[in-house]
């Protein structure tokens, strides 16, 4: 409406000015169809013009307009007054005086100070800073904050520290209504108008105090007495206004006919032509196999009864246990209850929850078809011959021979009558196997790492491995012939020529005049730093012996040639044990994880066996030479059939701690393993000569009798050659003899 008013006003002006109506105004007229119609309104327009300012007093535009008018009037008045006063004042710049400078002596122009007068714009303003609306942080590093009207610096007002400011706020009651003025860099109190504005903004009101949102409507064109009486157009009413349309009728009739003929239905019939249920299984089904039916829920047991036998009720601790277990882990999802009569049975509160869980199982749980094993668990245990039918084997401890320290090693003479045992104090004892009487004792410096009896029957002596040396000792009470032979064997009158003088291994014979039975007749000094010989392995003929030092060095010594050699230049991994093959010129070397089989005559690697043990502790070869057992610190025992594969034929794990020693009986089908758990396991191990039959391994007996000391149990086991007797040495310093 205001736009209209404006245009009308404009038009009036146009009329007044009598300017020729241009194309534009014509166009406007064209648009305003009601121009002519509102001819009588124009009169009222005239009236309204007078009222206009009054009504629209609040409008910004108008008030500005008014103010301007007033100002203009005032200005005009003043101008008329001042014009007469002074023409000079009309100059923008004041006149400059020319003076001679005191300093330079040159003339200079000096402008008078500007006297702000009443009518000047800045007369009322206090702001000395005239930099305008520039970012004030430009002056952050300056001592001033801007320039005043004269171009002089306005110095930054002194501002105290935070404490001063705080004290100021405390002292000044108007501090909370003042705000920081960027321009002057100081706090300025807010005016009441500004405070009111802030209050309004804060309250979410219209910031303009004069704005009235609920002013009464002004009816300009409608309302009482303003009804339009005369039609806007004199054109006669067209016929279409009252005659029903023929085409509409045709369209309607088409629909009517369709409805009558039933082509259009007023509302679709609910699909009830077919009965909801019918004989769905009467027609043949597809050939698809039906999906597996869901498993049915378990049927209720006696405990679920409302009146179960009394023993089904939970006692206090059972109930507590039931409550403590998670709902998923419970055997039953309910606590059995007993009610004396049916009317006392309450509703079951978890009914819906259980149905829901069943449904979750039905659609969310993966289903797997499992074959339920309906076998007796005892049938899983392999059927083995009874141990009693596999006698003889050692069953009880018959002798006990004590040592002062850990008895690390034992050796049994080839005739099976004598045992030598060595301990960590360096003491080697020779005693009788059948009675346990000590015959002789030798003392060595340092630990005794290994002992082995020479397998020769015509000469009798044994080898003791101590720190970096091997000592050959002749036991006492030998028949003279054997004694002679042994002596000549160990200390021949004519020494064989030394092949290599630079060999690090030194053979030394005790001089015959000083030698007694208590000292070794022959010693082999291994190179220093090689460490304790932890194993001595004799070749079956008794001419060669191999030693393994704790440093990992392997030496093969030849008795007849008094010659030692290191067979391997470089061995991958630390050598744990070596063994000569009982028949062939083969040599087993067990490193930490592998067992390698070398052919000594051809000097090449034959096989590498992988037992899958982390750390091999011991191995032994079957007297037939075709089977090998390997024990490890990780409790495993592997049986290798050397003809069959590089992988173990059988892996057994029965010891609860590391396996320490293994030994096959030379004549009986037996082998024994000892472990750190303090037990010795005797096995029956029958090997068949035909390749088709698998070896038969039957556990026979667990021998317990050694104590575990410092985590170590039975350190070595050895069989007697002739009898099914076993000698075992333990970390508790005891050597036991087990007999059948």
């Amino acid at each position: 409406m205001p736009a209209e008013v404006k245009t009308s006003k404009k038009r009036k002006q146009d009329e007044q000015h009598d300017t020729a109506p241009g194309v534009f105004s014509k166009a406007v007229n064209m648009e305003m169809l009601s121009d002519e119609e509102g001819s009588e309104g124009e009169e009222s327009d005239g009236q309204e013009v007078d009222e206009f300012p009054e009504i629209d007093a609040n409008s910004d535009e108008e008030s500005d307009f008014e103010d301007e008018d007033e100002e203009d009037e005032e200005d005009e008045d003043e101008e008329s007054e001042s014009e007469a006063d002074d023409e000079d004042l009309l100059h923008v710049f004041p006149k400059a005086k020319t003076v001679v400078s005191d300093i330079t002596g040159q003339p200079k122009r000096v402008y008078p100070e500007i006297e702000p007068e009443y009518d000047s714009d800045s007369s009322t303003e206090d702001a000395p800073n005239r930099v305008g609306n520039v970012p004030m942080h430009w002056y952050d590093d300056m001592p001033h904050v801007g320039y005043d009207m004269d171009g002089k610096r306005v110095l930054r007002p002194a501002r105290g520290d935070e404490l001063d400011r705080f004290l100021e706020t405390v002292e000044d009651p108007s501090a909370w209504t003042s705000a920081f003025d960027k321009n002057t860099q100081s706090d300025k109190p807010l005016t009441t108008e500004e405070l009111d504005l802030i209050r309004r903004l804060h309250a979410g009101e219209n910031p303009d105090a004069d704005y009235d949102p609920y002013e009464p409507t002004t009816e300009w064109f409608t309302g009482k007495g303003k009804e339009e009486i005369m039609p806007l157009s004199a054109a006669p009413e067209p016929k279409r206004r009252w005659v029903p349309s023929k085409w509409e009728k045709k369209k309607v009739m088409k629909i009517v006919r369709a409805i009558r003929q039933g082509r259009i239905l007023p509302s679709k019939p609910k699909a009830s032509a077919q009965p909801q249920f019918y004989a769905i299984w009467s027609e043949p089904s597809s050939s698809h196999p039906p999906p597996l039916p869901a498993p049915k829920t378990a049927l209720p047991t006696n405990a679920e009864s409302y009146n179960p036998p009394e023993e089904y009720l939970l006692n206090e601790e059972e109930r507590k246990k039931w409550e403590e277990t998670d709902p998923e882990d419970r055997d039953r999802d309910f606590i059995p209850q007993k009610y004396s009569s049916l009317r006392l049975v309450p509703g079951y509160d978890r009914f819906i929850k259980e149905r829901f869980n069943r449904q979750l199982d039905l659609y969310m749980a993966p289903r797997v078809q499992r074959v339920k094993l309906n076998i007796d668990p005892e049938s899983l245990i392999p059927k083995l011959p009874s141990p009693s039918s596999l006698k003889p084997f050692p069953t009880y401890k018959s002798l006990r021979f004590p040592h002062s320290a850990r008895a690390r090693c034992i050796a049994i003479s080839p005739d099976g009558a004598w045992v030598v045992s060595g301990d960590e104090n360096g003491i080697v004892s020779l005693w009788e196997l059948s009675v346990g009487k000590e015959i002789r004792r030798w003392k060595f410096d340092g630990k005794v790492g290994s002992l082995e009896w020479c397998p020769r029957t015509d000469a009798t002596f044994f080898v003791v491995g101590t720190e970096e040396a091997l000592h050959f000792i002749i036991p006492p009470y030998l028949p003279p012939a054997i004694y002679q032979l042994t002596q000549t064997l160990l200390a021949p009158s004519t020494l064989p020529p030394t092949a290599d003088a630079s060999s690090p291994v030194k053979w030394s014979t005790a001089p015959t005049n000083t030698w007694t039975d208590d000292t070794p007749l022959l010693s082999i000094h291994l190179p220093t730093t090689s460490g304790l010989p932890i194993q001595i392995a004799w070749h079956r003929r008794g001419d060669y012996l191999a030693t393994v030092s704790s440093g990992g060095g392997v030496w093969i010594h030849q008795m007849s040639r008094r010659h030692s050699q290191a067979p391997f230049k470089k061995v991958r991994g630390k050598v744990q044990m070596v063994l000569f093959h009982p028949m062939k010129p083969h040599f087993f070397v067990a490193t930490q994880q592998y067992v390698r089989l070398y052919n000594l005559s051809e000097q090449k690697l034959l096989k590498t066996l992988t037992p899958g043990i982390k750390w091999i502790s011991s191995l032994d070869v079957h007297p037939s030479g075709d089977h090998l057992i390997v024990g490890g610190y990780d409790r495993k025992l592997c049986w290798f059939d050397l003809e069959l594969s590089d992988k173990p034929y059988k892996i057994l794990r029965y010891h609860s701690r590391a396996i320490r020693s293994l030994h096959f009986h030379p004549t009986y089908p037996l082998f024994a393993s000892s472990s750190d758990d303090g037990s010795i396991q005797i096995f029956h191990a029958r090997v068949y000569s035909d390749l088709m039959t698998d070896p038969l391994i039957v556990p026979l007996k667990i021998l317990r009798g050694h104590e575990i000391t410092q985590g170590l149990g039975v350190l070595q086991v050895r069989w007697s050659n002739k009898h099914p007797w076993l000698v075992s040495s333990g970390a508790d310093g005891v050597v036991n003899v087990w007999c059948n």
Binding site: W281, L342, M364, P699
Partner: protein
């Protein structure tokens, strides 16, 4: 060289699909996917190797068969679900705009899916469907007892209760109920329909509240399927039995809370008048309208068996089996060529009845009356399934064929504490003496036992005998009915220190108990010398010959030794088992031990309870 095989193109990687992949493939929301899975019966699978199925990741995911999902993609229901999604959008738009008329017309043309094809697909034969209705029945009975709320509309509940009533009617008519069990969760029923064993659980009549951690949407989806399934199954059952499905509902009776009695079983041949040759018999539960047909049938029934006249005259259920069997029995025709009478041929009917010793007309000679505190739906169903007649008090629903004073009532099922009636009229006393009053458990125990039990143990106010599950337990489980015979010795063993227990044993049976005690003591003493001494003294005190005692000790020692060696041998032989066998063995042993422990703990408890009871009895005697 063969073709290069790319990873993830064959095998488990192709055969399995994860759930998120499946939803992505089907382009539906997870909720829709769940709904589809429920309706189609698709469930996750466990691949043999998760890593292979999930591109090397072992994160926990559920896998589906890719084929299953591929079939789902062509599912008409999925199409309808998509249409429904569009419809929901349109409707919400119309409602948001306030276009009520278009909203209404949209609502009228709402897309709805049918599950008929799914039923046919999931259950190609009727037997398949019948085998799988256990869960459906449980749900129907549960929802029939639920209060309605905005999530569960009353129409749904009404439909569920109608289906439940139809099932019960069928079971009652076909006499196929076999077992029932009153548990703390509800009543378990087991029926045998077409050689399929169907077990369902009905909650007791209490208001069930849907817990907040239960997703009602899932339950409703299942219910949708179950309603359709049961509808088709019942249709088949009813039509096979020659009945009209759905059975018409008598509204007036329903309003009077007649329960299952509000349904009228109509003979299909009677309603269609097509097969008049068949045995026409309308079994109407309550209040039949007397029509010409009815009169005709009554006359026919009267002529067929005289024993049934009472039943029809009373207007109650006719014991169905007797008539049908008589009419359909194989009739022996004496052959003319063979002079000797033929041995009775085993007909299909008789073969069928041979193994099942149970008596489906167990209650037919009796008329029961339900006291008002007993649950009518449970006992009406039970009694009528076994051919009994039943009346109830008007407080537990209308339509009772007998009132309380009826002369034919033989048993009253009562479940309230006994109260003395101070001034009883003589005729009332006489009526009381004529009737038998039993607690409700009697009905169920009779059904499970297959015979009428002695009513005295179940008289009101008496401590009821324990109610045992008729479904049995696993093999070798603890049997509460078995006498505690073999456990006697064990109990003595346990508390041999207590003198009175020893006395007990001696008192029970001097000779046998003595021997048993001796044996046990000797066995126990064989280990330790101090115990041996004590046992000797005890034996002397009991007056046992020392020579006999010595012999016993020796024997037990020997036995123990042989036992231990055998055990040790077995332990050693276990060494030779492979790791896998060992694990399997351990597992089996574990479960065996657990069962044995359960059994022994129950036995121990029982013996303790018995001991306490004996003590109490003795104290009472003194």
């Amino acid at each position: 060289m063969g073709r290069l095989r790319q990873k993830g193109k064959a095998g488990a990687a192709k055969a399995y699909i994860t759930r998120s992949q499946a939803t992505k493939k089907l382009q539906c929301s997870l909720a829709d996917f769940r709904r589809l899975c429920i309706l189609k019966g698709i469930f996750p699978r466990e691949p043999n190797n998760k890593k292979k199925a999930n591109k090397g990741s072992s994160a926990p995911t559920s896998f589906y068969y890719a084929k299953d999902i591929a079939y789902l993609a062509h599912e008409p229901v999925l199409k309808k679900l998509r249409e429904h999604k569009a419809f929901a959008k349109k409707l919400s738009r119309a409602l948001g705009r306030g276009e009520w008329s278009s909203a209404k017309s949209l609502e009228e043309n709402k897309p709805a899916y049918k599950l008929d094809h799914i039923i046919k697909e999931r259950y190609p034969t009727f037997i398949d469907a019948l085998r799988d209705i256990d869960d459906a029945l449980c749900m129907i009975f549960l929802f029939a007892s639920l209060p309605s709320n905005p999530r569960v509309p009353p129409s749904l509940i009404e439909n569920c209760s109608r289906l439940a009533a139809e099932w019960q009617l069928y079971i009652m008519r076909s006499h196929s109920l076999r077992k029932a069990f009153l548990s703390i969760k509800g009543v378990y029923y087991q029926a045998e329909v077409m050689d399929q064993v169907i077990t369902w659980l009905v909650p007791y009549q209490f208001t069930q509240n849907v817990p907040s951690d239960v997703d009602v949407r899932v339950m409703l989806t299942f219910l949708e399927l179950y309603q359709t399934l049961l509808g088709f199954v019942f249709f088949k059952l009813y039509t096979d039995a020659g009945l009209v499905y759905p059975p018409p509902l008598d509204l007036k009776k329903d309003e009077a809370a007649a329960g299952v009695g509000a349904f009228v079983l109509q003979d299909a041949s009677a309603s269609t008048n097509q097969i008049p040759a068949r045995n026409k018999k309308v079994v109407e539960i309550e209040g039949r309208q007397v029509t010409g047909k009815d009169v005709y049938q009554t006359i026919k029934n009267l002529t067929s068996t005289s024993s049934e006249t009472n039943g029809t005259a009373d207007g109650s259920t006719i014991p169905e089996s007797s008539t049908t069997e008589i009419e359909e029995d194989f009739v022996l025709q004496p052959s003319k060529s063979d002079p000797q009478p033929a041995a009775p041929l085993a007909t299909l009917k008789s073969l069928e009845s041979l193994p099942q010793t149970l008596n489906t007309s167990l209650f037919s000679p009796y008329t029961f009356f339900l006291s008002r505190e007993t649950s009518r739906p449970i006992f009406e169903f039970l009694v009528r399934s076994f051919g009994g007649r039943l009346g109830w008090s008007p407080t537990s629903g209308g339509g009772s064929p007998y009132d309380e004073l009826d002369e034919s009532i033989t048993h009253v099922i009562i479940d309230r504490p006994v109260v003395d009636i101070p001034n009883e009229s003589p005729e009332g006393r006489e009526r009381r003496s004529r009737r038998k009053y039993v607690q409700p458990q009697w009905i169920v125990d009779c059904i499970n036992a297959g015979k009428i039990l002695l009513e005295d143990h179940y008289a009101p106010g008496k401590t009821l005998p324990p109610h045992l599950s008729p479904f049995g337990e696993y093999e070798g489980a603890y049997d509460p009915t078995a006498p505690l015979g073999e456990q006697d010795g064990m109990s003595v063993d346990e508390d041999e220190n207590s003198a009175d227990e020893d006395e007990d044993v001696v008192m029970d049976g001097p000779d046998s108990a003595n021997a048993v005690a001796l044996k046990v003591v000797a066995a126990a003493a064989a280990e330790d010398s101090a115990d041996l001494r004590a046992a000797e003294l005890a034996a002397e005190a009991a007056g046992v010959d020392p020579a006999v005692f010595e012999k016993e000790v020796k024997k037990s020692r020997k036995k123990i030794k042989s036992d231990t060696t055998e055990e040790a041998e077995k332990d050693m032989n276990k060494m030779m088992m492979s790791n896998r066998q060992k694990k399997l063995y351990e597992k089996m042993k574990y479960s065996q031990n657990k069962r044995a422990q359960e059994r022994s703990s129950l036995e121990a408890k029982r013996s303790q309870i018995q001991k306490q009871a004996r003590k109490k009895a003795r104290a009472a005697q003194d």
